[in-house]
């Protein structure tokens, strides 16, 4: 059973490499970050201010010393201070990460609730009306980029019909109803493409599974249609669907950027875009690092789950 420790060690190694890449990337930019930060609109910055900022950022020390102290800081959970207002980057992230996770979970819930039954029904009704209509709808839903969906939803439901506000965020504790109304549009926007992909994967997996011998045996035993489809077909078909879906959720960690921007939703990716626009290096570094660590951890979790569900992997 050396598979598990080896897999965990690889993940830790990857996280270390990611932290180093992010650290180095920022130091390898042509030009001095301090000078870049201070020069706005082509005006050469004051040399005194530049050297002060260099000291503040620790850029005047040897790169190896910077790297070691940076790693040590990161390990203790300290991601440095924002250059914009001096606030703690870790605090900003702990404030905003749950909002993004809530958004992703809401979208994932919608996608699973609609996509999996949809895929099952389409597969059992192969070449029927529902199959054709839903397959075309899914192809269409996958072709429209999220920011287009979001913008069109705002135009329709906020500007024309005035059903919901165009965007924003209210904490759950302050006003639960408004919180959920504001969550609904961005969640639906993300869910549209996600549902389509869950639908397509489920449909393909079920079609594949239906041809298997054990399913024929289950029919031959005289089991009810419901039992064959749910216990024998769907249960096996969902294995690959769950894996791909979980990996898909990982890419959403960075992929909510556009949706949060469209709906003015103050999540983690919104923080990233603000930081990018303000060239706030510590904040960009912190957010990218946290998201990448979550991403690696999610990949590990998927692998572990898969190993639990399918013993062949463990012994491979």
């Amino acid at each position: 059973m050396s598979w598990l420790p080896r897999r965990c060690a690889t993940s830790l190694l990857l996280i270390w490499v990611v932290a180093s890449v992010v650290f180095l990337a920022i130091r390898l930019v042509p030009g001095d970050p301090a000078e870049l930060l201070l020069s706005q609109g082509g005006v050469a910055p004051d040399p005194a201010a530049v050297s002060e900022l260099r000291t503040q950022l620790g850029l005047d020390r040897p790169i190896l010393a910077q790297y070691v102290s940076n790693l040590r800081q990161v390990l203790t959970g300290d991601l440095g201070q924002s250059l914009q207002d001096g606030s703690s980057v870790s605090e900003q992230i702990t404030l905003r990460l749950p909002r993004t996770l809530e958004l992703i979970c809401a979208a994932a819930l919608i996608a699973v609730v609609l996509g999996i039954p949809g895929g099952l029904v389409a597969a059992t009704d192969r070449n029927g009306t529902f199959d054709h209509v839903s397959s075309y709808a899914a192809a269409l839903a996958m072709a429209v980029p999220v920011f287009v969906v979001g913008t069109l939803l705002v135009l329709l439901f906020a500007q024309y019909l005035h059903w919901v506000p165009a965007g924003g965020y209210v904490p759950l504790a302050r006003d639960p109803v408004r919180h959920l109304t504001l969550l609904a549009m961005p969640a639906l926007t993300i869910a549209l493409g996600l549902t389509a992909s869950v639908f397509r994967m489920t449909r393909a997996a079920v079609l594949d599974e239906q041809r298997r011998d054990h399913v024929r045996t289950a029919w031959a035993k005289g089991l009810t249609r419901r039992r064959v489809l749910l216990r024998h077909v769907l249960r096996n078909a969902l294995m690959p669907v769950v894996t791909v879906f979980a990996l898909h959720l990982g890419t959403l960690l960075g992929g909510t950027v556009l949706v949060e921007y469209v709906f003015n939703y103050p999540g983690l990716s919104g923080l990233l875009v603000e930081a990018v626009n303000a060239r706030d290096y510590p904040e960009v570094q912190g957010v990218v690092l946290v998201i990448s660590v979550l991403f690696v951890a999610l990949n590990l979790a998927v692998d572990l789950l898969y190993a639990v569900l399918d013993p062949r992997i463990r012994h491979a």
Binding site: P145, Q159, T251, G255, Y261
Partner: protein, 265 residues
């Protein structure tokens, strides 16, 4: 022998040739400002109307296709060349090159795609010139893995052994013997990368971090039309429709190519 389904291929070819022909078509200047007629509706001179600076929307839409496809095609081809070389070398020689190629790609895959693009754009600054290499890096792992897997299968075949026995150099074996046999999956990967690059390019441009204004790009057009969406909803709908339609036909081409390659082997 099966053929690629014709519909999607023709549609993509049509969009691509339109994008290539744009500079030679009798169109208005995409950068010509006409503030007096800002947000004007469709007319004979401007069939799709004018934008918030009075620029002709039809012209900008067509030039936008050129930008999107240039970025998509450029990054997909760059990733293809780099990824195929890495995959070939890694799969053929194994050992250290294999380790470097595959583990290097694992590092790239640690970042959600949009995030990596944002990081690089922060560091280097936006623009089509940065966008192409950045997107190419994002799609590199796909090409490396597909090529590597193909090379491992092909290398075990007798004809590769035969080429070795005849005394062919490694370079010749890789390019003349192995490469043609892994071309199918690589081609599918090119179509997937290009379709995905159109989505990413438009998204980054929408955020103002991709193509730099005033260059026409669908993402930028959608982004700037948001401010006037109530007065001029059409201004928003044209680029949305163009972008979605392009992605739709490109996705269809990906599916068709995949079926075709799958049916061949």
């Amino acid at each position: 022998m099966r053929f690629v389904r014709r519909g999607p291929a023709i549609a993509v070819a049509a969009i691509a040739s339109l994008a290539i022909a744009v500079p030679y078509l009798p169109l208005a200047n995409p950068l010509h400002l006409d503030i007096a007629h800002r947000l004007a509706g469709p007319s004979w001179a401007h069939p799709l109307g004018q934008d918030e600076f009075g620029r002709d929307v039809l012209t900008r839409l067509l030039w936008g296709a050129r930008t999107s496809l240039a970025v998509a095609g450029g990054s997909a081809l760059l990733a293809c060349v780099g990824g195929v070389l890495l995959g070939l070398v890694g799969g053929f020689w194994r050992g250290v090159p294999e380790f470097l190629a595959l583990r290097g790609m694992d590092v790239v895959l640690c970042f959600p795609p949009l995030l990596l693009a944002l990081l690089v754009v922060t560091l280097i600054g936006p623009g089509a010139a940065t966008l192409i290499p950045v997107l190419a890096v994002l799609y590199l792992p796909g090409f490396v893995r597909v090529t590597y897997a193909g090379v491992l299968t092909v290398c075990a075949q007798d004809y590769v052994e035969a080429a070795r026995a005849v005394g062919a150099r490694p370079g010749r074996i890789m390019l003349r013997t192995i490469l043609p046999n892994v071309a199918g999956p690589v081609l599918v990967q090119v179509s997937l990368a290009a379709a995905s690059a159109v989505v990413l390019e438009s998204g980054l441009s929408f955020l103002g971090l991709g193509v730099v204004p005033p260059a026409p790009s669908w993402g930028l057009m959608i982004g700037s039309a948001r401010a006037t969406m109530v007065q001029a909803p059409l201004l928003l709908l044209w680029p949305c429709a163009a972008l979605s339609l392009t992605i739709l036909v490109m996705n269809a081409l990906c599916d068709a190519l995949r079926d075709w390659v799958g049916g061949q082997s």
